[in-house]
């Protein structure tokens, strides 16, 4: 077992935890706001189907929230168990950000979740709506602090390095506003919020389509199909625009990551956009490349002959190319697929009008495709996180701390065994989660109106 690189093992463990964890906040951040919207519609219209929709989706929310909480607690412990060097080096920056997340966000959402889930009969509608709003604010605040920290690790500003008692250089904060609103933060924050919205949009579309196919044809299912179509059509194009802006930001602040995303080895004027290839770190070139001449320079610098720095300009400090390169293509590919299905559903269903059940039944294949795409947001989000996190390597904090210097010196077999335990638990829970949601979607959870009663 001595030939396993311990840093890789620690990274795999952290990657496993964060990959599992991110699935659930990705849903809850936006689903909380959707629930608030449903509650608000119910108050405005008095129509029971908004409350029916709320009652169904709050169950999905509760499941996702529980999984997000328990895996989040795991993450907070792993800083100490696996990466003690992280807090020693940049604890003065990371500490307060994490503390504020717990103080302002975590307690808020956890406390009011109880009232949101179980309190309706005890506090009345108005306070229940306030509790729902507080949970939604909590989930978004939580994302704010975590992304501020993550962005700072990518593009650190607002600090200086000073020697501590032992002579080690340690980060000290000079300006908190510069730390929080670091150059990549606004892009990363918006990109994540919209990613969450898209994930929820396709979850709503997929599960509602599945319910429709299972002959659950209440008005609540119809309004959720409409809502999902609207969300998809508004959010996916927004995300593509934001992604482009984020890319420009990465070009300026993390050129090595961008070169890996694009698969560009040599610094060139008029770089090609590589659509598909097999990047080879040994030969430092791409095999089987399919590329469009000069296009990368155009969309990155808005000049057909603009200069793009290649990976060879960053010897020893560029990320592993292939994972970043492929993850980026999976994310973009998933985005395109979501754009096409979203637009198609929008065009066919015309959700700005009341949905005619007959119109839904005219396109059974669309419903089936959407049902299969219920968790497509997860694939895009995970791929996006791999681009940004693997793309930061070999740095844990860009220019300040290398990943290998932060890891703990725990015996390798111990790390390996806990990694396997975590993986087994996560696999089991993921299957259970999807199984239970499927069960909820098949069960007659609402008093459905007879088909046709709405038309």
């Amino acid at each position: 077992m001595s030939d396993i690189d311990p840093t890789l093992l620690h990274r795999l463990q952290f990657a496993a935890n964060i990959s599992f964890h991110i699935l659930f906040p990705t849903i809850t951040i936006s689903l909380a706001w959707v629930l608030l919207f449903l509650k608000w519609r119910f108050h405005r219209t008095g129509s029971e189907h908004w409350m029916d929709a709320y009652r169904f989706w709050v169950k999905v929310f509760a499941l996702s929230f529980a999984l997000g909480v328990v895996s989040g607690i795991t993450m907070s412990f792993q800083f100490g168990t696996n990466w003690p060097g992280f807090m020693l080096k940049v604890g003065n920056v990371a500490g307060p950000l994490l503390a504020y997340e717990v103080l302002t966000a975590f307690f808020l959402e956890a406390s009011f979740l109880g009232i949101m889930l179980f309190g309706l009969s005890r506090v009345g509608h108005r306070i229940h709506t306030v509790a729902t709003a507080l949970v939604a604010i909590g989930t978004s605040l939580s994302a704010f602090w975590i992304l501020a920290l993550n962005s700072w690790m990518q593009t650190p500003t607002g600090h200086e390095m000073r020697p501590d008692a032992t002579g080690q250089l340690v980060a000290h904060v000079v300006s908190w506003s510069a730390v929080i609103f670091n150059p990549s933060f606004p892009y990363r924050m918006l990109h994540m919020l919209v990613a969450s919205g898209i994930t929820s949009a396709f979850l709503i579309l997929g599960i509602s389509a599945y319910r429709w196919l299972q002959q659950q044809r209440g008005t609540d299912v119809q309004v959720m199909l409409r809502l999902g179509a609207w969300m998809a059509v508004l959010l996916v194009p927004t995300q593509m625009l934001l992604g482009d802006l984020h890319g420009l930001n990465t070009l300026r602040h993390q050129p090595a990551k961008l070169a890996a995303m694009e698969g560009i080895w040599e610094t060139t004027n008029g770089a090609d956009a590589v659509l598909l290839a097999w990047p080879d770190a040994k030969t430092r070139s791409n095999h089987y490349e399919v590329a469009i001449p000069n296009l990368a320079s155009f969309y990155l610098t808005h000049d057909w002959q603009g200069e793009i720095k290649g990976l060879n300009d960053f010897p020893d400090t560029h990320p592993p190319v292939a994972p970043v390169f492929f993850a980026f293509r999976i994310m973009v590919g998933m985005g395109v697929l979501m754009l096409l299905t979203g637009l198609y559903a929008f065009w066919r269903w015309k959700p700005w009008r009341r949905l005619d059940p007959a119109r839904l039944d005219q396109y059974p294949k669309l419903l089936r495709v959407l049902a299969w795409m219920s968790f497509s947001g997860w694939i895009a989000t995970l791929a996006g996180w791999y681009v940004t996190e693997i793309g930061r390597q070999p740095w844990l904090v860009t220019g300040i701390l290398r990943t290998e210097d932060a890891r703990a010196t725990i015996p390798t077999p111990m790390v390996l065994s806990t990694l396997l335990i975590y993986l087994a638990v996560y696999m089991f829970l993921l299957i259970a989660y999807i199984g239970v949601i499927r069960h909820l979607a098949r069960k007659q959870t609402t008093v459905a109106m007879p088909t046709g009663a709405t038309s």
Partner: protein
């Protein structure tokens, strides 16, 4: 005390954060303690009562667990050096506890939504997760009290504490049920609580003997004059509270039989008292160290500027958190009914 005269505000900062961390851990042990205890007690109950037991903690467990995140969070951000040493030494039990907490937290949610025939399986997982988490925490406490000593005796001691802490949680859970439930379940909870009390007494005794034994500094803090007399009220009060808990548990069934619910809150309050006294005794022993006789508060603390940034937020936010936690407990006060949503 490690040459620290506590002259400036900066010298006080680590002490303040140690206090915040201590309070968070105490709040966690008491609040999540009764959640975990009810989880462990679940297999002992009839199927019909199981839903009621889970309902008694349903609205609270999530917020209760958050105190653990705050406690570890303060250790992480205020004392990064000690955080690395403690969690490094406890690597395996921490991982096992996390798996336990994960299983407990999710099966709590899955059991009410999974298909009916699968419910017993999720109930078992709920109980198992609670037991694993409680035992892992007990084991960690045992390792911590003996300063992570690497000897067979030390590991044996930790294993013994791993058996005692679940009893403590069962006592909290059982007495919480006495408070929140009625009828047959309430009477069974009295029986469970009385059995659990024996384990708690053993655990408190063992730790009280072990801490002065492992460190001559701690022995001196307790047994030298005049401290011996000044501190005497602590063990004496502890004994008294044990006695009160026991007596009220003996008397309750008779009184409840006469439809007289007077004093059904006493066992829970007294159990909380036991935990608070034990915690105080331990904190007094360990202070000013984070790792007994190895790392003190000032050695482990972060830069004062960062601590101040967190402190101002904490001073403002913590009262708000306490206020709305109190509010949620008030919303769900009184006897528990079956929850659904």
């Amino acid at each position: 005390m490690s040459g620290h005269a506590l002259q400036s505000f900066n010298d006080w900062l680590p002490v303040i954060f140690a206090a915040v961390m201590g309070l968070a851990i105490l709040a966690y042990v008491i609040l999540d303690g009764f959640d975990l205890g009810i989880g462990i007690l679940l297999p002992l109950a009839d199927d019909g009562d199981k839903d009621l037991m889970v309902s008694a903690i349903g609205p609270f467990w999530d917020a209760n667990e958050t105190w653990l995140v705050l406690g570890v969070g303060v250790l992480l951000v205020a004392f990064p050096l000690a955080h690395g040493v403690i969690l490094g030494a406890l690597y395996l039990p921490v991982a096992i506890m996390l798996v336990g907490l994960i299983l407990r937290g999710v099966s709590f949610d899955f059991r009410s939504k999974a298909p009916e025939p699968e419910r017993p399986r999720w109930n078992r997982l709920f109980a198992l997760g609670s037991l694993i988490a409680a035992m892992a925490q007990g084991y960690m406490l045992g390792r911590y009290v003996l300063g992570f000593e690497q000897s067979a005796t030390a590991y044996g001691f930790a294993a013994l504490i791993a058996l005692c802490l679940p009893s403590g949680y069962m006592l909290l859970g059982g007495t919480w049920l006495i408070l929140k439930c009625e009828g047959a379940l309430q009477l069974r909870a009295v029986v469970w609580s009385r059995r659990a009390l024996i384990g708690v007494a053993l655990g408190v005794l063992l730790i009280s003997l072990a801490t002065p034994w492992v460190s001559s500094r701690i022995a001196e803090k307790w047994f030298s004059l005049p401290y011996l007399f000044l501190l005497m009220p602590i063990p004496l009060t502890t004994l008294l509270v044990f006695f009160i808990t026991d007596r009220s548990l003996r008397r309750l069934p008779e009184r409840l039989g006469k439809q007289n619910a007077y004093g059904d809150w006493v066992p829970f309050a007294a159990s909380v008292g036991i935990f608070m006294l034990a915690f105080y005794g331990l904190a007094y022993s360990v202070f000013p160290f984070l790792v007994i006789d190895q790392i003190d508060l000032w050695q482990a603390a972060s830069a004062p500027e960062s601590l101040k940034v967190i402190l101002y937020g904490t001073l403002f936010v913590l009262p708000v958190i306490v206020a709305y936690s109190w509010y949620t407990f008030r919303v769900f006060k009184g006897k528990t009914g079956l929850l659904h949503y």
